[in-house]
């Protein structure tokens, strides 16, 4: 595969090309628009699978592409994947066709622009995970905001404008602090080595003085904490999720939140190992607060979507705790949990969307007894809820278990807090299941139909992968573990 074909550029710019192609399709040709969107995402998925088969689990970056870009400041067009980014690229490639399939069934408003925004979003997300130059990374990081802003703002719920603006501004303020920190790192690296570069790999090979590490860590952390989201900068997330259209929520929970945890692993730990260790108790505290706080709020929700949104805050807290455990098992678990959460929560948002499209209702007390009319749906919802609460044999378990071991090795006190989150997770998810799929079916829902073929098709790969990772996580862990030493060697010392 490492021939001349620019695989990574294709993964990033293929969706852009698809979006441009959509602009050429006449507005009335809705079927053609859907076909273009689906074909683009499938092509991206096919190439991403090629990437996966061609990837060798060893250290270092593969499939690198490097071009001169802005020589005056030392910025390059530099792409590459290692074990960390590979899985995230695969995840976003997989969710592409999944959300398009769902949308083909349910979205009926301004479809051309809708699919174009989805594709641009995918391009930006993939770019974030494969960029190895900070300027390039930052461009994708910011550019991704615009399609998400439009997706929430145009196709979202009643308070969509408030939610989209809040989302945009929170993220932007965080990223500006990251930009300042990156500038500081750039100059320090340049003055120390004489090489002025934004190359992430090179920047990570220099050691930075303590005070710079401290402030730069906080600058980057501001951006990543918003994206994760960690308490107290999490408040944009429930709003964004509740108002976003289903596909937006799926991408948001599935991939977008991982930008934050990815950034922590790609930048914070390798570049600022001392500051990371020094500030680890602070970050772990925030993570555990997030785990428990998210779970408690999820318990209190009546809105199905909000419940899953808060559960995301809780689950991402696990990932952050794993990352800052500085334990190999915790780190590997964190990455696996990113993937698992992407699949499971993505699927849960799809399930919420499916019930909402049928009943126009997300309020848990007003649902109930869905198992009577929609047995397939109820089975799948239960499947993903059990996966989410960490049932052994499913994807959620492996990640959470490894994280728990890692955090326990680092600090039993924090592990206790983390474990409380697992118990609470079981509580809100099972209680949700009981209220939604069991009990009596409200009369007005007597005529509901079960899942359609397209909907099943959208969920099927998520089911398969959830089981695969749960039963045989070895191939995934091998990929992840190949990346860890290079990223974390300095933080582990």
């Amino acid at each position: 595969m490492e021939s001349g074909f620019p695989v990574l550029s294709f993964l990033v710019f293929g969706p852009v090309a698809g979006a441009l192609a959509l602009a050429l399709v006449p507005a009335a040709q809705v079927r053609l628009q859907r076909a273009v969107a689906l074909a683009t995402t499938l092509a991206v998925l096919a190439v991403a699978l090629q990437l996966w088969t061609g990837f060798v689990p060893r250290g270092g970056f593969q499939f690198e592409e490097r071009l001169s870009w802005i020589p005056a400041i030392g910025a390059e067009y530099h792409l590459g994947v290692d074990g960390l980014s590979l899985l995230l690229v695969l995840l976003s490639a997989l969710l592409g066709p999944v959300v398009v399939l769902f949308s083909m069934e349910h979205v009926r408003q301004r479809e051309r622009a809708y699919y174009a925004a989805l594709l641009m979003l995918q391009a930006g997300l993939t770019g974030v995970f494969v960029a190895l130059d900070f300027v390039l990374f930052y461009i994708f990081w910011e550019a991704m905001l615009i399609p998400m802003f439009l997706l929430i703002g145009i196709w979202g719920g009643p308070r969509r404008i408030y939610a989209s603006v809040k989302f945009f501004l929170y993220t932007l303020v965080g990223s500006l602090l990251m930009l300042a920190a990156a500038i500081a790192v750039y100059w320090h690296h340049g003055s120390r080595t004489g090489v002025y570069t934004f190359d992430i790999v090179q920047l990570a090979q220099t050691s930075y003085p303590g005070s710079l590490q401290f402030w730069a860590f906080l600058g980057f952390f501001a951006a990543f904490a918003v994206k994760v989201p960690l308490v107290p900068v999490h408040t944009w997330l429930p709003d964004a999720h509740v108002e976003a259209p289903t596909a937006g929520s799926v991408v948001l929970a599935g991939v977008l939140l991982k930008m934050g945890t990815y950034g922590l692993m790609r930048f914070s730990l390798p570049l600022f190992p001392d500051a990371s260790r020094e500030l680890a108790p602070f970050v772990l505290t925030l993570a555990v607060i997030g785990i428990i706080y998210g779970a408690v709020l999820a318990l209190a929700q009546d809105d199905l979507k909000k419940l899953i949104a808060y559960s995301s805050i809780s689950h991402l807290g696990f990932v952050v705790a794993g990352i800052f455990s500085f334990d190999p098992r915790g780190e590997a678990g964190a990455v696996l949990q990113m993937i698992g959460h992407g699949l499971i929560t993505g699927a849960l948002f799809l399930c919420v969307g499916m019930v909402y499209e049928r009943t126009h209702q997300r309020s848990i007390p007003k649902l109930g007894g869905l198992a009577h009319r929609l047995p397939v749906y109820a089975t799948l919802l239960a499947f993903f809820a059990l996966a989410s609460l960490g049932l052994p044999g499913l994807a959620g378990f492996v990640g959470e278990f490894l994280i728990l071991i890692g955090v326990f090795a680092a600090s039993p006190a924090f592990a206790v807090g983390t474990a409380v989150g697992i118990v609470l997770g079981a509580a809100y998810l099972l209680w949700m299941l009981q209220r939604v799929i069991f009990g009596t079916l409200p009369e007005q829902y007597a005529g509901l139909g079960d899942l359609t073929a397209l909907e099943l098709l959208a969920l099927a790969p998520l089911v398969a992968l959830t089981i695969w990772i749960g039963v045989a996580p070895r191939p995934f862990l091998a990929v992840i573990e190949s990346a860890l030493p290079a990223l974390l060697s300095r933080a582990w010392q």
Partner: protein
């Protein structure tokens, strides 16, 4: 003599074109506006191609009063881009609003000549002459639609404050001359070198700084700018928001970094504080505006602040003129594009536009809506548009020069800025359309304007996605 003619060729060409249009104007008054505009555009294009030749012979021309260094060449490119775009934007609007039109072309060209003289002048008197030529042309342009009350009022304000600024400049200039016996920047640099700071020179520099701050619209000397820009016809406002900034920033870099490099510890803090104040003031005031034009006017104050970050950095690192030049080029594209699209929306709605008035416009007019969104995102500094590398490079230089605090202020300002630019974008796309959509249908009529907007959009995107060409060009903008 021949060398002098070559060194001044671009300016002479523009002057000749202005004279030609004057002649045309006397032959066919109130007719042939498109022809006159075409003459102007051709002259601007011609001047562009004459620039490299002029630079090669400049040093000895005009008895050392004229710099043809790379800084001058690159800044003049930005002036020419701004002049050409604003001419394209203006033609139909001026033709529709005013009986005349030829004068507009003449004044626009003369203003460009004034700015180019400012950029190349290495003698304080010559710089002052350039400033006045530019300012007088703009006084008239700002009142071009004199029959509108706001326009007349804006022009009057501009004249009065402009004259005040000129008086400050002259006073500063005379103090410097009185203390040193010279007005040549080359000689002044020798005076400043290593010597004691002379109180008279310092006072003179302070007045010069105030005068320049006035002309560029830096806080707290910015109060004329929103009123004047709001009153001026929209195409003039675009030109006025961009052109003088290019020229005055060039002068500031040349006079302070070029003329008094050794006194940086004295003038650095002055510009430093002006930059911080301008960024905060401009952004906070823009936040409070309902009118899109006023918002753009205040935002242009904020951009002066970002530009000043680079000016300050030139004191420690002369190469910071590169980011300055890049920002000005990017600014010419994105801001004139924004004013051009705003003009289009003004024509469509028939009045001054508040951001609420733009509700749903992005859906009704997808192309213009997308262009406007592009320019606004670029002004906000969001990738992949020109505004991002422009801001980024300036922040980078500012940080290296040791002004981390100032860069943080600028970042904060950018965050505030994102909010008010975004508000327009979300009105365009996210707000529902109003029930009554009385709309003036003018398809095809505004073709020149459309060209200008498309050109500006291409510039904004190219400089954003593959900035290396522009960066290369701007990197050459070094004080000779």
């Amino acid at each position: 003599m021949n060398g002098m003619a070559t060194a001044l060729a671009p300016e002479l060409l523009l002057l000749a074109a202005a004279l030609l249009v004057t002649a045309l104007e006397s032959i066919w008054p109130s007719k042939g506006l498109r022809l006159k505009a075409a003459v102007g555009l051709a002259a601007l294009a011609g001047a562009f191609f004459l620039l490299p030749g002029a630079a090669s012979v400049a040093p000895d021309a005009l008895a050392g009063m004229w710099a043809g260094d790379a800084l001058a060449t690159v800044f003049k490119v930005a002036v020419l881009v701004a002049a050409a775009l604003s001419l394209l934007i203006a033609v139909e609007e001026i033709g529709a609003r005013s009986r005349a039109g030829g004068e507009y072309v003449i004044l626009l060209l003369l203003a460009a000549v004034g700015m180019m003289v400012m950029i190349s002048g290495t003698d304080l008197v010559l710089i002052f002459l350039g400033i006045e030529l530019m300012a007088v042309s703009f006084y008239v342009l700002a009142g071009f639609t004199w029959f509108r009350e706001t326009s007349a009022e804006g022009a009057l304000k501009y004249v009065i404050t402009g004259l005040f600024a000129s008086a400050l400049l002259l006073y500063g200039l005379s103090l410097v001359y009185g203390a040193t016996g010279s007005t040549s920047l080359g000689a002044l640099a020798g005076v400043g070198r290593g010597g004691e700071a002379d109180a008279l020179v310092l006072a003179g520099l302070a007045f010069l700084a105030c005068g320049l701050a006035f002309k560029m619209g830096a806080a707290p000397f910015q109060m004329w700018m929103p009123d004047v820009l709001e009153g001026a016809p929209t195409p003039v406002a675009g030109y006025l928001a961009v052109g003088p900034k290019i020229a005055v920033m060039g002068v500031a870099a040349r006079v302070f970094a070029g003329g008094f490099p050794d006194w940086f510890q004295l003038w650095g803090p002055v510009w430093w504080s002006l930059a911080a104040l301008t960024i905060l003031w401009g952004n906070l005031a823009a936040l409070a505006q309902e009118s899109v034009k006023r918002m753009l006017a205040y935002s242009s104050v904020a951009h002066v602040g970002y530009l000043l970050v680079a000016v300050v950095a030139t004191g420690r690192n002369p190469a910071a003129t590169g980011p300055l030049a890049f920002y000005l080029l990017a600014y010419a594209f994105m801001n004139l594009g924004a004013f051009g699209t705003l003009l289009w929306f003004e024509r469509a709605t028939g009045a001054e536009v508040t951001w609420r008035d733009l509700a749903g416009f992005g859906r009704r007019r997808p192309a213009m809506g997308a262009f406007f969104a592009l320019f606004l995102l670029s002004l906000a500094g969001i990738p992949p548009t020109a505004g991002f590398p422009a801001k980024f490079w300036i922040f980078l230089e500012g940080w290296q020069a040791g002004y981390g605090g100032l860069v943080l202020v600028a970042l904060l300002g950018s965050a505030i800025g994102a909010y008010y630019y975004l508000r327009v974008v979300y009105a365009l796309y996210l707000l529902p359309e109003p029930e009554t959509t009385a709309e003036v249908e003018r398809r095809g009529e505004f073709s020149w304007l459309a060209y200008a907007v498309v050109l500006a959009a291409v510039g904004t995107l190219v400089a954003g996605v593959v900035p290396s060409f522009f960066v290369e060009l701007a990197s050459r903008a070094i004080l000779g």
